[in-house]
Symmetry: C2
Subunit: 472 residues, 2 copies
């Protein structure tokens, strides 16, 4: 056991390791190249009986753990959506871990509750949500969406499902492009996956509001009760933006909860030129976006906004004797705003990032990423055989290999699957895929905090040479 | 924005602040003395347009945030249950934040998945759970319990409630002493709070298995379907230990899922002398304990064990195209083991703590805490007017002021409420309360990592002088 008095002396080895990691990250393969079981087998079967030195643990960190890490902060990590961080956010996490406060209620750390309240206001205003929205930090958009679905369920049943069970006739609507967390959430909260209706999309893979209304009307006719619709600003597959205003109109008309999942693209709302994405926001009941994706704030930090916080609290509040306090009612006890009772002090990293970058600094980074994507998409379409699968948007390009003359979709899919394997296997980049109307396509996201043009040039070269190899 | 190249240079101010905090923590009032709104008002209404320096942020951390912090790591924090940490665990969090990996599936960081698998085995064996149990890290026991209830719901309905909604006739059983997260979870997962039956307890506030079986039989007779029972090892109010073997027997007989909440006291299972608490563990389906409470591991780190992981995965799995991988099926993708998709690299801090302390080091600390509690309870009962409300157990004592001759319970409750206010208002200690059969009682938990006898002596003096003041 290291005593607090020895903290500083011992911190050197840790800080040096981190310093080396942050500054030599491009020397590692982006995607870990280990085989299943390789790391597991290197870790002893049993914990040591006696203490081991920090030096030895740090050595094993480097030799055993690091080869098994897929480097999310590598500037050539272009997979999934990023979970980028920043030196500011890392420092905030240092402080959070040292303070070690458990922020379940105001009493257990007033500053954590009140900083969270302010940070939620800062962000709400920065992305131009209406002032009536109240916010709370959740661990992930999956959890935030679950919270939204449960609140919707309670509102639809007059708060009876919390007490008596969930009737089998509630219906939730989203598009087939909506994130899998909606399906998971509908199962978890007991509405039932059969009651999740996937509405058709238009050419751009955006939910078609006309089809939504038709479906809602047909369901009412059959005795179902429309409960909620989920719209997405920036779908996971292709970054499609559902028409918020039109969907909101239908939700109002049929008394449905309207939840908007802007987990990834929500950060772009900091830029005035993307605010068209939330036109109709006044018709929205709840809204989630993840600063831990594209806003330089360490995972986990998902921000959930709700127009009527009383409904949220009514759906989640329980009050045992040991949590009764004098301040109750005059402050925010965020434990009542979601599933977990215990909460980390996550507002601190938002404060560090928003102040350390300034709004102008965040805007600058976002525009750099968007500019790099424009550059990337212009270059990539020049590679023989490669086509863009959709119009590039924000910092996101989706493309595939489609050699002229090849028509068989299965063959094309296998070809693109191979292309992705080839690219990722070299360890210089990491990309992931999706299918667009059955067509296997490669997703390229440019959202790493410190990414520069030379990293994009490297990506273009790698993709180009991998494509060339396959053509032989 | 601080560039990675400037990480080390800038880390000094952060490390120095943390070093000072850890080594001067006893100079701060344990429980923050700020008034509601005090911190909030000191934070500007808007984020800065331009970047601010790290020095300025750290200065505000000290001047604005710190006075609003309730110091969970203060050796005289004896409230709630602790969420203790350690220098080892803090260092691990440093590394985790710098790597910034999002560990949703094996592919996104093989080492995180495989270290988690090993750490779950290390801990399972260390607390003597049977080898058939598989473990996963959750953020909190609330989330773990929700996961257990959903799995139970699915098993009871043949996995139909995931699809079709939750019938109103499922019943869940616990005692009135069970943690509030059960009630919350039953509401969240749609079983309904009316279907949570609180079974009576014995003199020691342990669930009475005879009453449980009577209730189950009566419910079946009325057409209800028993779904799950929740037993507790170390209740929040008084640290009562439910009879696991007898409850397990009934669960087997009536085909109910048996979940055990050992969130706090589970750590004591590292000591052979407390293993009687899990007699009958082979009849248990799922089990949660929180290394983030009493095992020197930073919040959040809750460990959830399940006997049949296939049932858990079946209840939570969804598989969209963009998460399909080559390794699927041959590795653990922990996103399917709970609600959130995104996951932090939390196994790392368990590895740092278990190696840095060694099992012997953890045992030594636990026994020190238990010894200090024995000392505390012996001394506190000598203070005139103070009685022990229950027999002290582990590192936990519950007591109240009961001047001889005073019989009126309401008067006594007001007196003890005042005693608690007096103690906490001085800022030297922080205690919380519960009610035992209506009697307001003060809880004293001795679980801070670095607590020593002098801190307990201070606590005894403070309580004694506060009690004396009230007697005047």
């Amino acid at each position: 056991m290291i005593a607090p008095g020895d903290f500083k002396k011992n911190s050197d080895v840790v800080i040096d390791w981190i310093d080396h990691y942050l500054n030599h990250i491009t020397e590692f393969p982006v995607k870990s190249q280990v085989m299943p079981g390789e790391v597991y087998r290197k870790i002893p079967e049993r914990p040591p009986r006696d203490p081991e030195s920090l030096e030895r643990i740090m050595k094993d960190l480097h030799e055993v753990i690091l080869p098994g890490i897929t480097h999310w902060q590598h500037p050539n990590f272009h997979a999934y959506f990023p979970a980028n961080n920043s030196v500011e956010s890392i420092f905030a996490e240092f402080v959070t871990s040292a303070i070690g406060a458990q922020c379940m209620i105001w009493d257990t750390s007033p500053a954590a509750a009140e900083l969270e309240e302010r940070m939620m206001e800062w962000l709400r205003d920065a992305i131009h949500l209406p002032p009536g929205f109240d916010g709370v930090i959740q661990d992930s958009a999956s959890s935030a969406t679950l919270v939204a679905l449960i609140t919707a369920r309670e509102v639809a049943t007059g708060f009876r499902s919390n007490e008596e069970g969930v009737p089998g006739n509630l219906r939730v609507y989203c598009s087939g492009e909506t994130h899998s967390s909606i399906e998971k959430g509908v199962g978890v909260c007991g509405i039932g996956k059969k009651n999740l209706v996937k509405v058709g999309v238009d050419e751009q893979l955006r939910m078609d509001p006309r089809l939504l209304e038709e479906q809602v009307m047909a369901d009412i006719h059959k005795g179902f009760q429309p409960c909620a619709a989920v719209g997405t600003i920036g779908t996971t597959g292709t970054l499609a933006v559902d028409p918020i205003d039109a969907i909101g109109e239908i939700c109002k008309k049929y008394h449905m909860w309207f939840h908007v999942d802007a987990a990834y693209a929500g950060t772009a709302l900091l830029l005035p030129e993307y605010r068209w994405m939330i036109e109709g926001i006044e018709k929205v009941d709840s809204f989630v976006f993840n600063p831990h994706k594209w806003m330089f704030t360490n995972f986990d930090c998902s921000v959930y906004y709700v127009k009527n916080a009383d409904l949220l609290i009514s759906a989640f509040e329980v009050l045992p004797e040991y949590l009764k306090t004098k301040s109750r009612g005059s402050v925010n006890d965020y434990r009542d705003w979601g599933v977990p009772l215990g909460r980390r002090f996550r507002a601190l990293k938002l404060w560090f990032v928003l102040r350390g970058f300034g709004i102008s600094g965040i805007e600058e980074r976002l525009r750099t990423h968007i500019g790099l994507n424009r550059y990337f998409s212009d270059e990539i379409r020049k590679i023989p055989g490669i086509i863009l699968a959709m119009e590039p948007f924000l910092n996101f390009t989706i493309f595939r290999l489609h050699p002229s003359g090849v028509k068989d979709q299965e063959l094309l899919n296998r070809l693109n699957e191979k292309l992705l394997e080839e690219i990722n296997g070299r360890g210089k980049l990491f990309l992931t895929h999706t299918k667009i109307r059955g067509a296997y396509s490669l997703r390229m996201v440019i959202g790493q905090t410190y990414v520069e043009q030379r990293h994009i040039d490297l990506a273009i070269n790698e993709i180009s040479s991998a494509a060339e190899n396959l053509a032989i």
